[in-house]
Symmetry: C2
Subunit: 629 residues, 2 copies
């Protein structure tokens, strides 16, 4: 970036939280448009003009943001960065697409004009510079794919080979599936059936006709499953895990190197010649710097940080010490100054009286916790056997518990603990829900929205998990890796968005859910499409799984991610279009399940093992801790 | 072990290959008995007397083997070893059981007497001292389970919690599944449904009724799947992998330590005082020792090994050098003396003539290989489109290829390469199959057994994979970890055997496969059990999945391992017995899929990563290689 004062101001403005949150907001709005564009739920459908003007607004903001970045960046570096070029390309393409669409729509409205740039929208999430985590995940995927391509090709060749074998074995036997469809009659159908088998979705159905014919045919399928499912799929996971670990190592190395380089540059700017060859940062410079970086912290805090960094206690910071600054700033240091609670400060005479102190000792006692844990357990029992009578008693007890804890520990200490906040939230919403329920009285017909709140009361049970030490470790691990899981949620969302938009363009409106008690001759019979008559898709009552609006598309894609019955869902769409529809479902499975999901599992493996290793050795933060001690 | 000469003789006898193979044979016979005992295929059913006398024979041999081991072992150590005690216990229990059975059978034959000791049989595989690999795998499982117990308990508690939530949410809505069964009405049914969902087997069916009622209910299932399937299952895999790796490390450390200790003891016995403090093994002792250990190798070989070990070239082996002996003996050193082929030795004038040499150069040329790879590809095309006309041409060509290669390289060099042997096997069997086919002539009705052989011709295609370098690496990895995969095959088999025997005792004879075109009123209608009427099990035509004989039990257990539709299979057996049958299927899933299969995946992960790392750095054998160079 350009380092002149003028540009730095713009740089700071660019990274100000107002503009950043506006960017997030506009990206969210842009993505949310898919819910209101055709095809959509009729209640939520907006006219084309409305959605397009909102989109233009978003694009203009993106363009503004882009120009802003151009202004303070060094052009040579800026234009070499793929992500910047991609942003500009997407903006231009979207504008082009909108113009094309308007012309097409005016000239030939009936030919169902297509907005082909919509799948590009989620790329904004990746390419704007704040989505660093997601970009890193994508980079990881991009680097892993070529490495596992060998194995994937070999895998598909094996499937093709087995398909040939199956064709040879079963072709002449004229077997059929229970619903009468032919059994291994064509090569490409065989490949499809065997690919589905490798996802286990049609096991054991695909085997049964042959197995009924002769028991020995079971061998063919068992060998196939062992080779292609257990061995190949595990090897794909292993290869992904191996590459993921390597890429991660390289990423971390590069990022540490980058950080040190930046810090080194900063040191060069701040250093003062102390005499001899020693260059140092003085205490005064340090204070001015830290005041800029963390303006909210007290002088004592800044002094403390200096003391931690300054290992040789000479009140100056050498280059080697300065390089640890970034790690240091990441640490959360809580200042232990005002432990006085609100009540202690304002009514000390009462708060420190004998009764009050006795109460506080009681609340801090083990028995207090055990008693309420036991109460939760009893409550669980009541909920399990659907006894609603004692609900008010339990609610009152838990409210009292929270109030007592608040009284004893004070709100600050109380809410710092995850389980307390969780408890407060759950009990508080349960109280509200119960109050509303009581107000509604006997009119229990309207429980549709209300009981969602009531159900929350059951979540109190999670507290039991939190109070047992051995579960705490596992839960802590889950909570620790939680944020990173959200990153992968973002990655999956990008893929989902793209596939959902494409899916809606291809499959929307082919059928719909009207219930299954329709009569013959009705428009809505067989979900409104007679081609579904007799298909497994219809028999399983899957009509509500369709691409008729954006949210439903996301749900169906999630179902496809879970894999089970995905071939039945695919078969429904094949029935209303053509066998080429299989390509869409195959592509989705390959990208989202085989690759992205395995990378997600690789990530969890690595994160979990790291957590475990740290948990047992406790190396992190040790440098700072030793210093503090 | 006792080290007196007399006992050593018995020790050697105990480990002689005749007695060891007899042990394997008797174990195999003992296990195979399950195929001939009731319940079994009527063709294979033996009378009780026959199977029991064979079993007594096996047991007597095991007892003999046991006493043999007792004789030369030090009692204190021998009786402290769990595996010895287990063997004795199993033998005693089995005899007891047989006596009980005979009495029970004579007194009350109609009450269906039970041979309860049969599930113990596979324990012989583990506990006889030759099954070291399998015992190690079991030890690994035994050590891993307690470590993941926390997570499993938390996992089941989460399922219970979600089941409560589901009950609260759906109980009052009176929804039903498409076949009319109630939807989340009872707590234990809810737990079962949600446990099945975590295996993905009833996705999306379990969601559809709620989803049809209100689209927002999809959230409940999506959150459940994300938490319990994607996060918990990945963490279980991670925990298993982590513990597996640790256990493996400990195992290897212990085994290396044990090996060094044994070698150290051997060195103490063989050493000669050389003067000073130096103890060495002399060249003469070395030759005598190696002559005993590897009697088949030449003197040159023994000298070479000595030269490799003797790093300081003083013709004596120090203690440090001696400790590497075991690693050295593991290496395959091929002697490169007689590279002359059979033909070269017996008809050298012809073999070395100009024409012959030209031919050999041609065969060694790249174009030769490419031509035949291309031919295989064309052949694949023909097979794929079921053109049988050119079969003879291709077969002839491939036979010529093999003959030419045999001529050029000689049989020794030819068969050393895996792909050549594979090729030879495939083409050779294809020739035989085609010859039989030709002899049979037009009577193509009898192709049942023959076309199994014909199908083998398709396997020639695998050769293409082997001739592409990048696939070779992956295939080599698979081949390298192959033997260890068999170990896990053994582990799985032990579990399968136990579950199969128990399953046969509980479920055999409840129904059978008679085809599905039976008529009402027939004995065989609804697979011989009217309770199956209307169940999904019957609709999917799963009747051939039953526990009516041992092999079928293995097949059904394999289907359960693949997981898909396992709840439908379970529902069939629930229909003909009671809901308690679910416990059997749940236990099988938990042990074989959640634990054993994840350990298998952990093993593949580790083995694959190891192979990859070695492949890229090539560290192994480097010590010996540097010496040789």
């Amino acid at each position: 970036y350009k380092t002149e004062a003028n540009y730095v101001k713009f740089y700071n403005l660019y990274h100000s939280w107002v503009l950043r949150w506006m960017l997030y907001l506009f990206i969210a709005i842009d993505l949310a448009l898919a819910m209101f564009e055709k095809p959509a739920n009729p209640d939520m459908l907006w006219p084309i003009g409305a959605t397009m003007s909102v989109e233009v607004l978003c694009l203009l903001f993106f363009l503004f943001r882009f120009c802003h970045a151009v202004y303070f960046s060094i052009p040579r570096i800026f234009w070499r960065d793929t992500k910047n070029i991609l942003i500009l390309a997407i903006i231009v393409l979207t504008f082009l697409d909108m113009i094309c669409f308007l012309i097409w729509d005016n000239v030939a409205h009936d030919t169902n004009p297509i907005r082909w740039s919509r799948p590009l929208r989620p790329l904004f999430i990746i390419n704007f510079s704040d989505g660093k985590q997601i970009r890193r995940a994508f980079r990881n995927i991009r680097r892993t794919v070529p490495e596992i391509l060998n194995i994937l090709v070999l895998f598909f060749l094996s499937i093709a080979l087995f398909a040939l074998l199956a064709l040879k074995l079963f072709n002449k036997r004229n077997l059929t599936y229970p619903d009468g469809t032919p059994y291994f009659k064509e090569f490409f159908d065989s490949i499809w059936d065997l690919y589905v088998l490798v996802t286990t979705a049609n096991n054991p159905d695909v085997m049964m006709p042959a197995y009924d014919e002769s028991n020995w045919f079971a061998f063919f399928f068992i060998i196939y499953i062992i080779i292609c499912l257990y061995i190949f799929m595990s090897i794909i996971l292993a290869a992904i895990y191996y590459n993921y670990r390597n890429n991660l190592k390289n990423e971390i190395r590069a990022s540490v190197y980058g950080k040190r380089k930046k810090l080194g540059e900063a040191f060069e700017l701040l250093k003062v010649d102390k005499g001899g060859d020693q260059m140092v940062v003085t205490y005064q410079t340090w204070c001015r710097l830290l005041k800029k970086v963390i303006p909210k912290k007290s002088q004592a805090h800044i002094d403390l940080l200096m003391k931690i960094l300054d290992t040789d206690m000479n009140h100056q910071i050498e280059r080697k010490e300065f390089l640890q600054l970034a790690d240091l700033l990441q640490l959360e240091l809580s200042e232990v100054t005002d432990r006085m609670t609100f009540l202690e400060r304002y009514i000390p005479t009462f708060y420190n009286s004998t009764i009050s102190r006795g109460l506080k000792i009681g609340v801090r006692h083990k028995a207090f916790r055990y008693f309420f844990d036991f109460l939760i357990f009893v409550n669980a029992w009541f909920i399990g056997f659907d006894v609603d009578k004692a609900d008010w008693f339990f609610l009152a007890m838990f409210t009292v518990e929270i109030l007592l804890k608040l009284y004893t520990f004070g709100p600050k200490e109380f809410f710092v603990r995850f389980w307390n906040s969780f408890d407060f939230l759950v009990v508080f919403s349960a109280v509200i829900a119960s109050a509303i329920e009581a107000a509604e009285g006997a009119s229990r017909e309207e429980f549709k929205t209300l009981d969602l709140l009531l159900v929350l009361r059951v979540l109190r049970l999670v507290k039991i998990f939190g109070s047992i030490q051995r579960f705490k470790v596992v839960l802590q691990t889950i909570i620790n890796i939680g944020p990173s899981i959200f990153t992968y949620g973002g990655v999956i969302f990008v893929f989902y968005y793209i596939f959902a938009i494409i899916g809606m363009e291809i499959f929307s409106g082919k059928f719909d859910y009207y219930g299954y008690e329709t009569e013959e001759g009705d428009e809505s019979h067989f979900c409104g499409n007679p081609k579904l008559n007799g298909t497994a898709f219809f028999k399983f009552q899957y009509c509500n799984n369709n691409f008729n609006d954006f949210l439903k598309s996301l749900v169906i894609l999630f179902e496809l991610t879970v894999v089970n019955q995905w071939h039945v869902i695919a078969s429904g769409f094949v029935a209303v279009t053509s066998k080429a529809a299989r390509i869409y479902f195959f592509m989705f499975h390959l990208t989202c399940v085989v690759i992205v999901l395995n990378i997600f599992i690789a990530f969890i493996l690595e994160a979990f093992i790291l957590e475990y290793t740290i948990d047992k050795s406790g190396k992190l933060e040790s440098c700072v801790e030793t210093k503090i001690k």
